[in-house]
Symmetry: C2
Subunit: 349 residues, 2 copies
C-alpha cells in the first residue's frame, strides 16, 4: 500500500496537519484506515491513558483543563479525546471546544480532539479507541479521555484506559443509589468535585462506604458489557489465563476518594499525585501489562468481527438474501434462524 | 430434534409451568434454545408490544400495574417483561417483584417475568426480545415491556416494541436538557407522571416545545445505535426498501404528552386510549408492518452474527490463535489486524 506513504512520513516527522488527517481517516473509516492503524500499531505503547468520566455537569472539562495545565508545567505532552454523544437538544458546547477556548490554544504540547458523532453511538467506542492509538503513536505522553457517562458505550471508552477517574458532584441528583450500573465499578479513583457545596461530605462518605462493602472483591471489575458477544457464543475468555500469568493479588489498590473544587484548581495537584501513584501501582504489580493485553485482545476481537461482517453484508449476498426473505419471514413461513443459516452458508461457500 | 417435543406440547396446551421452563431455556441459552425459538416463530405475530421506559423513580411500575388492571378489565390477557439491569447497590426491589406483590398474583390472565441478568448487559437486549417472543407465542395478547432507561441497551429493548411510552417526572432531575440521547427520539407517547408535583406543567411544556421543534422530521427515529455494526461494515441497510413499500407519510402520528398520577390511577384510562389510538394508526398506515419487519431483520442479523462468532470462538481455533499471539502483540511484533486475519482464515479453512 503506497496510498498513505507520504502521509505516514509527515505524521512520523511530527507534522500536526498529518496527525489531524490520519485521525479523520481513521475516525471516518476512509479507504486505507486499517493499513494506517496497522502501520502505527505499537507506536504509542508507553503513552499513559487516563479516562475521566461521570454524569453531565460534574465538571469533567474543568478537571481536564487543570490536568492539562499541571502536566504541561512538568513538561509532559498531553493529548485529549473528548467524547460527547449527547443529544443535539442539550445545546451545550462540545467538551473539546470548551477546553480549546481556554488557555491551551497555542500550545504545541497539547492536542485536543472532540468526538461527538451522533448517529454512531455503538461504533463510537471502537472509533475512539483507534483515535487514541493514533494520538499515542504520534508521541503524546499522556492521553486524557473525557467522556460524558451517559451510557454503557461511553463508560467502556473510559474503562479502556489504564486508569479510570469517576467524577461525581453533590447536586448531580445521581446519588449513588441510582447510579448507572458499571460506573462505580469502573473507577480506579473517585473525585467529588464542587466539594464546597452542601452534600459533598455526605457523598464522599457514601462512596467510601460502598468501596468498603466491596472490599474482598476483585479491585477492579471489568465492566460486565465486555465480551458479551463471546458469552453468547459460549467462548471462554482468554483474559483469565493472562491475568494468572501476572500477579496483581498481593498488593491491592485502595481506591481513593478525592475532593476538588476544579474551578479554583483546588485539589488538582492531589489528583495528579494520586494518578501518579496509580500508574506506579499498575507498573509494579503487572496490572499494566494485564490491562494493555486485555485491550489488545479486545482489538483483535473487534477486527475479527468487523471482517466477518464485511464478508457477509458487503462482499457477500447477505443483504440480498435477507431482503428476499422478508415477506416469508413476516408471514411466519420461514424463521430468522433458517434465513440466518442460509446467509452464513452463502458467505462460507 | 426430539429433545423438547414434550415441553413444546405442554407449552401449546397452555401449561404455565411449560411457559416458565421455555423462558428459562431461552433466557439462559440452554441446549436446544434455538430449536425452541424456531418452533415458536410466528406464533405471537399479533400480540401487541408496548415498551415503557424512563428514568429510575418515574413510576413506571405503578403505570404498568394500572395498565394491567385496565387491560384485564376489558378481557385482554397481559404478559409483562420487567428489565432492571441496575447495580445491586441500588438495593431496590426488582420491578417485576414489586408488580407481582400487588393485586395480580392469582390472575391466570397475567404473566410477569423479571429480567435483571447483571453481567450480561450487552446480551440483555437480545435475550429480552426472545423472551418477549416466547410470551407472545404462548398467547398473551398484550406484552408490556418495562425497562429502566439507564442505558442504550434498555432503550433498544423498549424501542423494539410496536409502541414506546417514555415516562418522565418533574423531580427526576433529568430536565430534558440533560436527557439521554435517544430517549426522547424513541417516544411514541410521553407521560408526565406525578403530575400534581410542582414543575409538571413546565416539564410538559418543555417536551411539547421540543416535539414542535422536531416537526418536519421523521415521526419516529429508530435509535442511532441500530445497525451500527453494519455501518462499520459498510452495509447498506435494507430497511429503507421495506419502508418505501409501505407509506407512512400521509398521516403523521402526533406524539401526545399525557399527565398522570399513577398512584391514584388518574390519567391511566386516557393513556390506554392513547395507546389504542397509536395501535390503530400503526395498522392503518402500514407502519406496524414496517416495524415488525425491521424487528425480523434485526433478529436475522443477530442470528447471523451469533453463528459467525460461534464458528470462530467456540468451534474454531480463534481463542487458541489469540492466546498464542498475545506476547507478540504486546511487543508490537504483530498487529491486531494481522492476528485477526489469521483467525478469520482459520475459521474459513
Amino acid at each position: 500500500m503506497t496510498q498513505h506513504d507520504d502521509l505516514l512520513a509527515r505524521f512520523r516527522a511530527g507534522q500536526r496537519a498529518a496527525l489531524a488527517r490520519v485521525i479523520s481517516i481513521v475516525e471516518n473509516q476512509r479507504e486505507g484506515f486499517q493499513e494506517l492503524l496497522h502501520e502505527l500499531h505499537g507506536g504509542g505503547r508507553n503513552a499513559r491513558r487516563i479516562g475521566i468520566t461521570g454524569p453531565p455537569g460534574a465538571g469533567k472539562s474543568t478537571i481536564t483543563s487543570n490536568l492539562i495545565r499541571l502536566l504541561r508545567e512538568r513538561g509532559q505532552t498531553v493529548g485529549v479525546v473528548a467524547v460527547d454523544p449527547t443529544s443535539p437538544y442539550t445545546g451545550g458546547a462540545l467538551l473539546g471546544d470548551r477546553i480549546r477556548m481556554n488557555d491551551v490554544a497555542s500550545d504545541e504540547g497539547v492536542f485536543i480532539r472532540s468526538m461527538a458523532t451522533r448517529g454512531a453511538l455503538g461504533g463510537l467506542a471502537a472509533a475512539t479507541r483507534e483515535v487514541i492509538d493514533v494520538i499515542a503513536a504520534y508521541g503524546f505522553e499522556v492521553i486524557l479521555v473525557e467522556t460524558v457517562g451517559v451510557g454503557q458505550s461511553e463508560l467502556d471508552i473510559a474503562a479502556a484506559s489504564d486508569t479510570t477517574v469517576v467524577v461525581l458532584v453533590p447536586e448531580s441528583g445521581d446519588s449513588i443509589q441510582t447510579m448507572k450500573a458499571g460506573l462505580m465499578e469502573a473507577a480506579d479513583l473517585f473525585v467529588i468535585n464542587k466539594a464546597d457545596r452542601p452534600g459533598a461530605p455526605r457523598l464522599a462518605r457514601e462512596v467510601e462506604m460502598m468501596l468498603h462493602l466491596r472490599m474482598g472483591q476483585a479491585m477492579r471489575n471489568i465492566p460486565a458489557h465486555h465480551g458479551v458477544d463471546l458469552r453468547r457464543a459460549g467462548k471462554k475468555t482468554t483474559s483469565s489465563s493472562t491475568s494468572s500469568s501476572t500477579s496483581t493479588e498481593h498488593r491491592a489498590w485502595e481506591i481513593p476518594v478525592l475532593l476538588t473544587q476544579a474551578e479554583g484548581g483546588e485539589g488538582l495537584p492531589e489528583l495528579l499525585a494520586a494518578l501518579d501513584a496509580h500508574t506506579a501501582w499498575l507498573e509494579e504489580t503487572g496490572e499494566l501489562v494485564r490491562r494493555r493485553r486485555a485491550r489488545l485482545e479486545e482489538r483483535v476481537r473487534d477486527a475479527v468481527h468487523q471482517s466477518l461482517l464485511l464478508r457477509v453484508w458487503q462482499d457477500g449476498e447477505g443483504g440480498a438474501i435477507l431482503e428476499k426473505s422478508l415477506e416469508a419471514l413476516d408471514a411466519g413461513e420461514v424463521t430468522p434462524y433458517e434465513v440466518a443459516a442460509r446467509i452464513v452458508r452463502a458467505a462460507a461457500g
